[in-house]
Symmetry: C2
DNA sequence: CAGGATCCACATGGATACTG
DNA sequence: CAGTATCCATGTGGATCCTG
């Protein structure tokens, strides 16, 4: 049993923070879900599917996920250039958890949005 | 079967975005995990456990979670004032998913941090 | 096509002082 | 104790232009 002071507490070695903070950005979760569903997807296709992500942010998101070993990048030396992304094995182990969270969100969103409107500060 | 354009796509009714974006902030996940573990916890105790969250941000986080019906607020008219927070039923249904994600993070953090360091842009 | 480089707007979040 | 209010620093992310 760990001490509580380690489980939460000042950021340093807290795994929830160091790892999950990354997933808290605007696009990572979407990308992981998309790759989990589509398999190997090229840059432009990801961008079209998501619809409103800028090139810059998609690039950053993919690089960060790649740095964390969650997605892998595959370059095809064609003309025009083609680059595809897919989940790594580590990414595949993360996927079901993201999917469950997504499913929960889908099931509860209507009630939550309703509560959110009725809530008075 | 839904169209893909609805599952991801421009934010409007995407449940992942509207609901999970909130959990993507800096403190919500920590608070949910803490309440899930401790049950009913008072404001100052949450702040001490987390360690480096400001009053302002903890207040905002708790209010947002309350507005979404994930935590409930209970005031005890004592002197000095005591306010306790706990997960609602909805919050309890969310908890296991967060815990699994947290467990995944804990299991993988070492390798991820290692990869992160070795990654060259 | 995939992305690098800038510049810039805004939202998030911290520090501090004050209140019921 | 549990907030509220304000000011301010920074990070995140968008728009635009340019390159291999």
């Amino acid at each position: 049993m760990k001490k509580n002071s380690e489980k939460f507490g000042p950021s340093d070695k807290c795994p929830v923070r160091t790892v999950l903070d990354r997933l808290g950005d605007k696009w990572s979760v979407l990308v992981i879900l998309l790759l989990g569903e589509k398999g190997s997807v090229r840059f432009s296709h990801i961008q079209k599917e998501i619809g409103d992500v800028s090139q810059k942010m998609l690039t950053i998101t993919l690089k960060t996920l790649e740095a964390d070993g969650i997605v892998s990048r595959h370059v095809f030396a064609e003309v025009p250039l083609r680059v595809e992304y897919r989940l790594t094995e580590r990414g595949e182990t993360l996927l079901p958890h993201i999917q469950q969270l997504s499913a929960w969100a889908e099931q509860n969103m209507r009630h939550i949005l309703k509560d959110r409107k009725q809530y008075v500060a």
